[in-house]
Amino acid sequence: MSTLSRKEPLTRQEVAHLARLARLAVTDEELDLFAGQLDAVLDAVAQVGKAPVEDVPPTTHAVPMTNVMRPDAVRPSLPRDVVLAGAPAAEDGRFRVPRILQEEA
């Protein structure tokens, strides 16, 4: 039996932290809404703690998996211009990304 027991409700601050980790710039209204909703969902899913799982291995995939190999042969890829056509910004035949370094760096 798992020791899982949820006594503390999920706080607004915790939701804000999780949203930051997941790169979601959530609004104050969303924090209010999600904290309550996610707390209810967590209460529901915490039921998994009831299961008798001593010595039970986890299942990651329902069918047996082995690594799949294929011949390492050169094949044509998608044309560059076709792929870049779907990008929000492209420049000089490449994806253009927002800045990744500080001004002072």
Partner: protein, 507 residues
């Protein structure tokens, strides 16, 4: 055939009429396009329809003289989670608005090679997260049986299109029930294949260990024909099973003969049986019990089977699927495709990414990403995600134990018939309960079909048949027997709407 016949006929019959040159693919495609133009404004089944492309493709098939050979010349609709070369693909999300993929999913490519005619892409819950299609970023989809009710989800655009006569059949995807549940709620047949037996290449990933594409159709035979067209090994999907697809259409035809003697059927106690009826609608339980009697009447040996771990399928699923989703949806970073917000030259990548994802994702997607991030975070991983994976093992063991005693397991597909639009949107836990009966087969990777078994207060009820991995043929056999014993496909009983008056029902 009249135009009404064209849009209410099974595909097997349409293929015969095409082969006999009674109709052309252009006429057939045109009949569906007309109904889409007249009725989809209200029904809301499609996100994208390209009339000219569909008619040009149909003309090509007619000119080649291949219409009616196999599936050539038959129109089809694809759920918008299926990537289609040059055809807008959004997965129901604003973050992919306007994206035209540079390649075809294997499912789309196989259907193209078979000569089918793409009518359009169907609406869905954003990234397939939902049970009502209300989480679409684009539009509301209505149930053709009652426009005030949901068509199920997440493949609700596909279910509404087929049930409403705006497509002869469609592809859906099922992660926790998203083919079977909408099929059940709209009076269709929907099958979730054995995990790994239909390629996931080119399906926009939600929960990779669970996602499967499959058929949604008016009849069991049509579903089997569509499944045969998309199934089988694909080197582009590393989880693709290297085993031949069982013969399905033949099984459906044989099943319709109605002989189930010797077949052992297990009724799952935990899915609507004694002591497990909270939240189940009486009409659903009654239709289910009657269907079980029909199976007995055809010679099946029916017994009750207990699968105790199924009680925890819902919490396990709503940990595993959001965890995988939080990882899969990291790809939407505003760099390679789709939306980018806030890139003013001053903001850094991280901030642009957060603003893009905030603007591009809807509430349910954000909730699930946050939930998945929580379940995978250090300190909670073992208690939530790890524990859920162990429950998944127990569910698989319950199936294995049951299948040593019986050939198939049966249950209602959903606890209730279609609920009213708007009634569960603010209560995620109530929404998740719609998946109660479909989740065990998803988590175990086994095949499961939903076939109609009658009406509850005028709304369709689905009967679920689950089989061991790779025994999809048994699902089709039992479903076809039940369909035949119930007097044929239920969808034929849907009152016809008049061509000109959407919203009105012809007598």
């Amino acid at each position: 055939m009249t135009s009404t016949d064209l849009t209410t006929s099974g595909v097997a019959e349409l293929a015969r009429a095409l082969a006999a040159k009674e109709i052309s693919s252009v006429e057939l495609t045109g009949a569906y396009l007309e109904r889409i133009a007249a009725e989809d404004g209200e029904l809301g089944a499609y996100l994208h329809v390209d009339r000219d492309a569909a008619l040009a493709r149909a003309a090509e098939i007619d000119d080649a003289g291949t219409a009616g050979t196999g599936l050539a010349g038959i129109p089809i609709a694809l759920k918008d989670v299926v990537v289609t070369e040059g055809v807008p693909t959004t997965s129901g999300s604003k973050i992919l608005e306007g994206w035209r993929p540079p390649y075809d999913a294997t499912v789309a490519a196989r259907l193209k090679d078979a000569g089918t005619v793409l009518l359009g892409k169907t609406n869905m819950d954003e990234f397939a997260m939902g049970s009502s299609t209300e989480n679409s970023a684009y539009r509301v989809t209505r149930n053709p049986w009652d426009p005030s009710r949901i068509p199920g989800g997440s493949s609700g655009g596909s279910s509404a299109a087929v049930a409403g006569g705006l497509a002869p059949w469609a592809i859906g995807t099922d992660t926790g029930g998203s083919i079977r549940q909408p099929a059940a709620l709209t009076g269709l047949v929907g099958h979730k294949p054995t995990y790994g037996s239909v390629s996931r290449f080119g399906l926009i990933a939600f929960s990779s260990s669970l996602d499967q594409a499959g058929p949604m159709a008016r009849s069991v035979l049509d579903a089997a024909l569509l499944h045969e067209a998309i199934g089988g090994r694909d080197p582009l999907d590393s989880t693709s099973i290297d085993a031949p697809l069982p013969v399905l259409a033949e099984c459906a035809r044989r099943g319709a003969d109605g002989d189930l003697s010797g077949l052992k059927v297990g009724v799952v106690r935990e899915l609507g049986g004694p002591g497990h009826r909270d939240g189940y609608e009486q009409g659903v339980l009654d239709r289910f019990a009657e269907a079980v009697e029909l199976l007995k009447g055809m010679g099946a040996e029916v017994r009750e089977v207990s699968c105790p771990a199924f009680d925890l399928a819902l919490p396990a699923y709503y940990l595993i699927a959001p965890s995988e989703a939080s990882s899969n949806l990291a790809r939407f970073d505003g760099v390679r495709y789709g939306l980018r917000v806030g890139d003013d030259g001053a903001r850094e990548l991280d901030e642009v990414m957060a603003l893009t994802r905030e603007a591009g994702f809807g509430a349910e997607v954000k909730r699930r990403i946050i939930l998945g991030t929580y379940a995978l975070s250090s300190g909670y991983y073992e208690a939530y995600y790890g524990q859920a994976q162990k429950v998944r093992t127990l569910i698989g063991r319950d199936f294995s134990a049951a299948f040593t005693d019986v050939d198939v397991l049966v249950s209602p597909t959903t606890p209730t018939a279609a609920f009213p639009i708007g009634s569960r949107v603010d209560d995620p836990v109530a929404m998740y309960a719609a998946d109660l009966c479909t989740l065990p087969a998803s988590l175990a990777g086994v095949p499961a079909i939903s076939v109609p078994c009658g009406l509850s207060e005028g709304l369709p009820v689905g009967f679920q048949v689950m089989a061991p991995a790779l025994a999809d043929d048994r699902c089709y056999q039992v479903a076809a027997a039940l369909e035949a014993a119930s007097g044929g496909p239920l969808i034929d009983q849907l009152p016809r709407r008049t061509a000109e008056g959407a919203g009105q029902v012809a007598a």
